[in-house]
């Protein structure tokens, strides 16, 4: 594959510390000039440095759509900034084969006092378009933004949605060979988002290279064929999206299928309840981190009640890897419903049936609340447990014999019925178009 981006031993150092991280005043310079010899004697120059990127090597081929994930501060933005030439690497180099464009921050170069028309030209020029190019694409940009009526209005009178639409339209028409996107899909209403995705698809169809930075794991896994994980300025994982995303989630959330708080004082909770242990368990009782999509499993909570006289309700919430909440469940069993609990250690388990959840990484949030005299949250532990739901190719799950990606947040195994009617006349065979021939025409 022809390379589009070659990143070679790339490092970026930032200096931190001091009163002002960046700029300094003359007085400080004079002061530091005076004290510099002494600091040099001590062997430190009084500044701490941070390696935002540390010896990054990465090659991206032409036409690839690569997702970049990582925590805040892992170096994603620094990498994009170096690629877009906003800042310069401390060491190493980058080779780019083609014009690079970024949708890092839509609306770059917009001035509130200028009209939509004026801003298209200004922003386009700042993003690197020639005047003739902007003139040629002007109508298309306006049409894409759906702002024909307001194009002679100062953008400061625009709603934020209109503003973003115009800004995105300009950036989307930049037509670079390499496009960098940073969470831009989160803008605008659903219809506009679809338009943006279509545009991205179009760009991809044209064989252009796309770098997509996002915290939206669902979008990353859905759109990209390859994902790169950045941790503390280094690439720690590079490969197939599901694998990398799982690696990221399990390492970043520091959560597994079982979690225990040995020290009661540090355990989540308040003076009434303390959480001591959470685990994912199979019907047979053992702790499991991988759940068969067809089998029921339980999430078991062990908690201490430290104060008499509270009717407690354990609650579990389930999130997928994109951070979408799938559902939440409250303990409604009659045994302890509206019943004050005596001081003791309790173990409650919620049973999730098989053939309900879709495959992927799931997170459980645990909380305990009481409703009398008023609703009160006693403990809330986000990302208390993490586990994987895996599907089976055996054919008895909701996907049947289909092995491709299955969309949807849930994966219930539902009943289908089919009736046969042999008396009715069939349409002539030749008139029926197969889906394939429909596509060809």
């Amino acid at each position: 594959m022809k390379p589009a981006i070659k990143i070679d031993h790339l490092s970026k150092r930032y200096r931190i510390g001091g009163l002002h991280p960046g700029y300094v005043t003359f007085r400080e310079v004079i002061g530091s000039v005076v004290t510099a010899p002494f600091r040099k004697l001590k062997g430190t120059n009084g500044q701490q440095t941070v390696w935002a990127l540390n010896d990054v090597k990465l090659q991206i081929g032409e036409g690839e759509l690569v997702g970049i994930i990582g925590h805040n501060g892992a170096g994603k933005s620094t990498l994009l900034k170096i690629l877009s030439r906003v800042t310069r690497p401390t060491t190493g180099s980058v080779e780019l084969f083609g014009r690079i464009g970024s949708l890092l921050e839509v609306g770059t170069g917009f001035h509130p006092d200028l009209t939509g028309r004026e801003n298209i030209f200004l922003s386009g020029a700042i993003l690197g378009m020639r005047r003739a190019e902007i003139e040629r694409k002007f109508d298309e940009i306006v049409a894409f933004s759906e702002l024909e009526k307001f194009i002679e209005t100062s953008v400061k009178w625009y709603s934020s949605g209109m503003y973003v639409r115009l800004a995105f339209s300009v950036a989307a028409h930049l037509e670079p060979e390499i496009l960098m996107m940073d969470e831009v899909l989160a803008v605008g209403d659903a219809a506009f988002q679809q338009k943006c995705l279509d545009k991205m698809h179009e760009i991809r169809q044209q064989g252009r290279t796309i770098l997509f930075v996002s915290h939206d794991m669902a979008a990353i896994t859905r759109l990209c064929k390859r994902v790169v994980l950045l941790e503390n300025g280094r690439i720690t994982c590079d490969g197939e999206p599901h694998e990398v995303v799982n690696h990221y989630l399990s390492s970043s959330l520091k959560t597994g299928a079982s979690r225990e708080w040995a020290n009661g004082a540090e355990a989540p909770g308040d003076e009434v309840v303390r959480l001591r242990r959470v685990r994912v368990r199979a019907e047979t009782g053992e702790t499991i981190s991988v759940v068969d999509i067809r089998k029921p499993f339980g999430i078991e909570l062990t908690y201490e009640v430290l104060e008499d006289g509270h009717a407690l309700v354990p609650v579990l919430e389930f999130y997928n890897e994109a951070g979408t909440e799938l559902f939440s469940t409250h303990d409604t069993q009659p045994d302890w419903r509206r019943r004050e609990r005596p001081r003791a250690t309790y173990t409650s388990t919620v049973w999730v049936p098989g053939n309900l959840l879709a495959e992927g990484s799931l997170l459980g949030h645990v909380s305990v609340m009481s409703h009398f005299p008023s609703t009160k949250l006693h403990l809330s532990e986000r990302n208390a447990v993490a586990f994987q739901v895996v599907d089976s190719p055996a054919g008895d799950s909701a996907r049947g014999d289909y092995l491709g990606p299955m969309p949807g947040l849930m994966r219930p195994l539902l009943d289908w019925t089919t009736e046969t009617n042999e008396t009715e006349e069939l349409s002539p065979k030749s008139k029926v178009q197969s889906p394939k021939s429909a596509q060809d025409s």
Binding site: L104, A125, R136
Partner: protein, 306 residues
């Protein structure tokens, strides 16, 4: 920032790439042996690169940024561009009142109002251009940290906008010249030369102070005093000949003095002080070269420091 566009297929190829037809045709053009723009991002260790070719390539940006500066300045004002005339006019009237009624200067061939205005037009252009370009980088911080383009054009656009103002306020000078019936000579043809020199000087000072302001914000506070001091050290509102002989060297090394005196001489058709103008020109151009170098050197760190 030093992105080197490989020389053999630099701007020409990009033009070809940007001259692609509409989006619908793009699949074809991308499928063709794609016109490729290869660039290399080097690290800070690689040193300063002037990259004048890149400046030339994106010259249209200077036009758009200048246009923005002008448009934004007079949006939501009642009188709009009239302010360009009013500012030097009022300043001239004030100085005429003070120095023509209370204190009298011998201003030679030119009546005092015309004398003052001819100096003030150039001086106000210079002072505004330097002030605006000094602040320009900091006030465009959001641009600098988000997207790459030759940052040199931000302060340059501030000077460019000042030049547009100057050409409008020049009409005032033309009106006054006819009002006082000044004899016009061929020396008038030299006027653009002095405007050019003043632009070069304003760019030189503006670029330098803009680059330094990114790192040392003190300059923003010190600048008004420096500008004021510079004005009184230059023959803007007084004739150069009232300066005592012991201090004349100060006017010689002050390029503003050489340029303004030369401008007036060209206006009245009097002989030029050639060595003086030559020194001013040499200093202005040397300063510009130096400033461009310093600016390019600092430019890499703008996004990290601003």
């Amino acid at each position: 920032m030093d992105v080197q566009t490989s020389k053999d297929r630099g701007p020409a190829i990009t033009t070809a790439a940007s001259a692609k037809p509409r989006a619908t045709d793009l699949s074809n053009s991308a499928a063709n042996a794609a016109p490729e723009r290869h660039s290399l991002i080097k690290s800070e260790e690689a040193g300063v690169q002037l990259n004048l070719g890149e400046l030339w390539h994106s010259r249209e940006l200077l036009y758009f940024l200048t246009l923005r500066d002008i448009k934004v300045r007079y949006k939501q004002t009642l009188m709009g561009l009239a302010w360009v005339i009013i500012q030097p006019l009022m300043t001239m009237l004030i100085f005429t009142l003070v120095f023509n009624r209370f204190v009298k200067f011998d201003t030679g061939a030119l009546p005092y109002p015309l004398f003052a205005l001819s100096g003030l037009l150039l001086w106000l252009f210079f002072a505004n251009a330097v002030t605006n370009s000094t602040n320009s980088l900091v006030s465009n911080a959001n641009l600098i940290t988000k997207v790459y383009f030759p940052r040199l054009y931000i302060p340059a656009a501030a000077v460019g906008a000042g030049l547009v103002d100057l050409s409008v306020s020049f009409l005032l000078l033309v009106a006054l010249v006819f009002y006082y019936g000044v004899t016009l000579t061929v020396n008038l043809l030299l006027l653009p030369l002095f405007i050019l020199l003043m632009t070069v000087l304003a760019l030189g000072v503006g670029l330098l102070s803009a680059a330094l302001t990114v790192k040392y914000r003190d300059l923003r506070h010190a600048l008004p005093f420096i500008i004021q001091l510079w004005m009184f050290a230059s023959p803007v509102i007084y004739p150069a000949r009232i300066v005592p002989a012991g201090w004349q060297w100060l006017l010689t090394i002050n390029p503003v003095a050489g340029i303004i005196e030369g401008f007036r001489a060209a206006l009245t058709g009097q002989p030029l002080n050639r060595p003086h103008v030559a020194i001013a020109a040499a200093i202005s151009f040397a300063l510009l070269v130096f400033s461009v170098y310093v600016f390019r050197r600092f430019e890499d760190t703008f996004a990290d420091v601003i």
